[in-house]
Each structure stands twice: as structure tokens, then as C-alpha cells.
């Protein structure tokens, strides 16, 4: 199924200044399977966009293309107006200094302590002295509610919620301009999910960062987002303010946010 390309009304507000992040006509296939099929998305500075969509619709592939972990087949991905597709080595690392990422599984390094995980980008990426990086790491861990005893511990001893908090502290440690959140509340109980959502909102507000979050969790989307975009068929099929989502006339969005079995998704499955 293909969808007509359209200028998303909420993308136009970013046209007055250079968008912090802009994806234009991004395509990515694996063999014969088309995952991204002309994806367009634009994030203004300081904006929080949440991309929703079902499993296997290409949300993670989109993030990996932005981070340079996958190379799009064609299309453009610009960060602060600079083309990033095809960047390698030092040029890629320079772009990544602007970026923080919270992975779905937190992706903490087992061989390092909790504070070393948080300080990793400062020590290895920014070349900061360990003692100075440790002070910053402890400060970031305190922001997400973890004390010094936890900081000296082993990541494998932490619960899922704590691992996410450490991952969040690591994502904000270098005070990046853009932060990506990959399913930040997946696998957590609703209370811990709410804690993580609030921490994300607070940390991002303090930093003034632009954020792009991918999730299935509508509660998370409503808490974090300024704007919500729905990815389906490799394209953004709807985008709008978080307050518009309950009144939109898109049947895919309507079915998704209400979690109904009946609807266009079900028709596709059958």
C-alpha cells in the first residue's frame, strides 16, 4: 500500500529556521522488503516529536538511519542543515556529538560500573578526565533518582526501570542537542513507565533539547510529545499536535490509539 506524499501542516512551522533534524524522501529496503518508502519528517529546535506505529513498521530502522547505523538507499537526512547520509569516520563522530540515545534495552555496558556507563561519552567521546566525568555522571544519576551507592554498582544487578534510568542519564550526560528515545517504557510496569516519562520530560525541558521518540505506548506519547506522527507503510501518514490526535479522521490513527481489533490494520492482516 502506498500513500500520497503530502506536506504535513505541522512540518511547515519549522520552515522559518533551519530544522534541527530533517528527513526527506528516505527509502530503505532489505532485499525485497521495503521498510521506509519516502519518509518525510522535520523537527524544529526544542521540539518533542513522538513517532507511533505498529511493530515492524520501520520505526527502529528510521532511528538507525538517522544515527548512521544503517545507510538509507536514498533520500536525505540533515542535522542542523548538514547532510549526514554517507558521513563516515571523524565527520560522523562530530555529528554524533550532538546526539544522545536511550536504547530500548538501555544497552548498558556490562563490563563497566553504572557511573562509568553514564560517563562513557564524556571520557571516550569528549576526552574528559575521569574524575571530572565522574562528578558529572553522579549529578546526572541524581537527576534520575539514583544515588552514589548505585553508581558504583554493576548494571547487571539493576532492575529494568533502573536500567532505563541509567540509560537516560547516559543519554543526557553530554548535554546533546538531539535525544532519541527508542521505546522508553516498553517492558516496564505502568507506574515505572510514568516515572520514566516524567523524567524524560523534566530532563529534556532542563536541557532544551530536541527529542524524537518512537513508541507503541500512547500514554507515553501523550506525556512526552509536542507533536505525534504515525508511521505506516514506510511513510508518515499523519502528523499533528498531541491535542489533535483524539479528533483526527485518519482511520489508521484512530484504530491505533484506541487499540481496536477492527479497522484498516485488521483488513491488511487478513
Amino acid at each position: 500500500m502506498t500513500f500520497p506524499q503530502r506536506n504535513l501542516p505541522n512540518d511547515t512551522h519549522a520552515m522559518n529556521e533551519t530544522p534541527r533534524l530533517e528527513l526527506t524522501d528516505v527509502h530503505k529496503s532489505f532485499g525485497t522488503k521495503v521498510v521506509l518508502n519516502g519518509l518525510n519528517l522535520s523537527l524544529a529546535k526544542g521540539e518533542s516529536v513522538v513517532v507511533i506505529g505498529g511493530s515492524g513498521t520501520g520505526k527502529s530502522v528510521m532511528l538507525k538511519c538517522i544515527l548512521g547505523l544503517l545507510r538509507p538507499d536514498r533520500g536525505s537526512i540533515r542535522i542542523d542543515g548538514e547532510e549526514t547520509v554517507g558521513l563516515r569516520g571523524a565527520a560522523r563522530e562530530r555529528i554524533l556529538t550532538k546526539v544522545g540515545m536511550l536504547f530500548q534495552s538501555a544497552a548498558l555496558f556490562d563490563s563497566l560500573s553504572v557511573w562509568e556507563n553514564v560517563a562513557f561519552g564524556l571520557i571516550e567521546g569528549a576526552g574528559m578526565a575521569r574524575e571530572q566525568a565522574r562528578i558529572i555522571a553522579l549529578d546526572k544519576l541524581a537527576k534520575v533518582g539514583l544515588d552514589e551507592d548505585m553508581a558504583n554498582g554493576d548494571p547487571s544487578a539493576l532492575s529494568g526501570g533502573m536500567r532505563k534510568r541509567v540509560g537516560l542519564a547516559r543519554a543526557i550526560a553530554t548535554e546533546p542537542d538531539i535525544i532519541f528515545f527508542d521505546e522508553p517504557t516498553t517492558g516496564l510496569d505502568p507506574i515505572m513507565g510514568d516515572v520514566i516519562n516524567n523524567l524524560i520530560t523534566e530532563c529534556v525541558r532542563d536541557l532544551g533539547a530536541t527529542t524524537l521518540t518512537i513508541t507503541h505506548d500512547m500514554s507515553s506519547a501523550r506525556t512526552i510529545a509536542d507533536r505525534v506522527a504515525m508511521l505506516y507503510g514506510g511513510q508518515i501518514i499523519w502528523a499533528g499536535g498531541v491535542d489533535e490526535i483524539d479528533h483526527c479522521d485518519n482511520p489508521f490513527v484512530d484504530q491505533f490509539i484506541h487499540g481496536r481489533e477492527e479497522g484498516p490494520f485488521a483488513l491488511e492482516v487478513t
Binding site: K64, L67, G68, L69, E93, L96, T97, V99, G100, M101, F103, Q104, S105, A107, L108, F109, D110, F120, G121, E124, G125, A126, R170
Partner: protein, 258 residues
């Protein structure tokens, strides 16, 4: 019914694709070896893991191999009255072949599997992706320390294995085969040439490099969950053992062919 030629063709194309991927991986690894930053602390950590902690298994292997070698050579050479050659054959056999090959095979199992399992787990839990987003090149941070540590420590391990292996032969020679201690040692050192030891150490360095390379390659290319990591570990061990045996022949040819 499948066409047999198509099966052969698919296998051959798959083989060539693997060679290509491995060549690219090796090229990236070697490029990372000569480009900063260098993680010396990680190199030392890996030297401890790969070298120091492998000493017991390599030492035990060498001790009993030297002992069995002395016993077998004695029994064989007794058939034509050449028992006195035992010390000479033990020392040459150990330094040229059995020391490096057996140490290489033991390390291939112990170290190759450990590297593939660790890096494979990092791959499937997105830790490799996390490294990249934290502006750290995984080749420099993970592959180079392991390659350098394995290439440097394997010859040291083999040198120790040579000494322990000769000692194993000596103990059997003295206590079991009634050799005179001074004569056994004199024959050992008189017959040994520098090239015997050198060739074994060069082999050891090649084996160490191949073990670490295979561990890293299969770990980086593991897919899926626990099953994928298990498959990567098995592949790393099998491929490193095969490459050790092939490269052993090639290095032997290079050193000793007339």
C-alpha cells in the same frame, strides 16, 4: 528436486561472500590498529584475560604432551635401537609443532569462544550500536585490544609451554625411562636451534591473531538472540581451529621448505 549444480553454485557464492566480508573486516581491523585513539588500558586487560588466565590450561597441555611424547618416541625408537634420540625429538617436536599448535587449539577453544560470546552478546543487546552513538569506534575499542593482546601473548604462552613440555619429557625420561639427567639436558640443548624456537613463536603470533580475528568477526556478525550468539561462538571456534591448521602448514613451508 534440487539441481545439484545450483546447490554447488549457491555454496560457492556463499563462500566467496564470506571471504569478502572477512577481508573487509580484517582491513577495517588493521586500519584501526594504526589509527588513534589507542586503548592501552583495555589492551593490558585483554592480555591478562587472554594470556595470564590461559596459563593453567596451556601449561597442563604442554606438560602431559611432553611426557607422552617422550614415552611414545622411546617405545617407537626402541624398535631400531635409537632410544638416545628421545630428548632431541621431544624438544624439536615441541618447539616447532606441538607447542604452538596445541596451545593454539586450546586458546582457540578458550579465548575464541569467549571473545565471540562476549561481542555477540554486545551485538544482540545493542551495546555495539550504543558505542557508536557515544562516538566510539567499536573496532578501535573492542577489536584492536583483543587482536594486539592475542598476537602478543600467544608467543609468550607458547614459549612457556615449550619449557613446560620439555620438562614433562625430561621428567618421564629421568624417572620412567632411566635417562641420565645431565645427558638428557645436554642432548636437548645441543640439538635445539634458534630457528626451531623462532618458527614456533612466529606460528604462535599468527595463531593468536587468527583466534582473536575469528572471535571478533563472528561476534560482530551474530544475529538473533541466545541461539545466534551460540552459533557465533561455535563458528568462531571451528573457523579458528581450521585456520590454525592451515596456517601452520603455510608457515612451516615458509620456514623450512628447501
Amino acid at each position: 528436486m534440487h539441481n545439484p549444480l545450483a546447490i554447488v553454485g549457491r555454496f560457492f557464492l556463499g563462500f566467496l561472500a564470506t571471504i569478502g566480508r572477512l577481508s573487509v573486516f580484517t582491513g577495517k581491523s588493521l586500519a584501526a590498529v594504526v589509527s588513534p585513539p589507542f586503548y592501552w588500558r583495555l589492551c593490558l586487560q585483554q592480555m591478562m584475560t587472554i594470556g595470564y588466565y590461559s596459563l593453567p590450561v596451556v601449561g597442563m597441555t604442554a606438560l602431559f604432551t611432553g611426557a607422552v611424547l617422550a614415552l611414545q618416541i622411546y617405545l617407537g625408537s626402541a624398535r631400531f635401537g635409537a632410544e638416545s634420540a628421545v630428548p632431541n625429538i621431544v624438544v624439536v617436536g615441541l618447539t616447532r609443532e606441538l607447542g604452538p599448535v596445541l596451545a593454539g587449539l586450546m586458546l582457540g577453544g578458550r579465548v575464541g569462544a569467549a571473545i565471540a560470546a562476549e561481542l555477540g552478546t554486545m551485538k544482540v543487546t545493542e551495546q555495539l550500536d550504543a558505542l557508536i552513538t557515544l562516538q566510539t569506534n567499536p573496532f578501535r575499542y573492542l577489536v584492536v585490544p583483543r587482536l594486539i593482546a592475542a598476537t602478543v601473548t600467544t608467543p609468550i604462552l607458547v614459549l612457556i609451554a615449550d619449557i613446560i613440555g620439555v620438562m614433562g619429557g625430561y621428567l618421564v625420561g629421568i624417572h620412567r625411562l632411566d635417562f641420565n639427567s645431565a645427558v638428557y639436558l645436554k642432548n636437548t640443548f645441543d640439538f635445539l636451534e634458534v630457528m626451531d624456537v623462532t618458527s614456533g613463536l612466529v606460528k604462535a603470533a599468527v595463531f593468536g591473531f587468527l583466534i582473536a580475528l575469528m572471535g571478533c568477526y563472528h561476534g560482530f556478525n551474530s544475529k538473533g538472540g541466545a541461539q545466534g550468539v551460540g552459533r557465533a561462538t561455535t563458528d568462531a571456534v571451528v573457523s579458528s581451529l581450521i585456520l590454525i591448521l592451515i596456517s601452520n602448514y603455510l608457515v612451516t613451508e615458509a620456514f623450512f621448505s628447501q
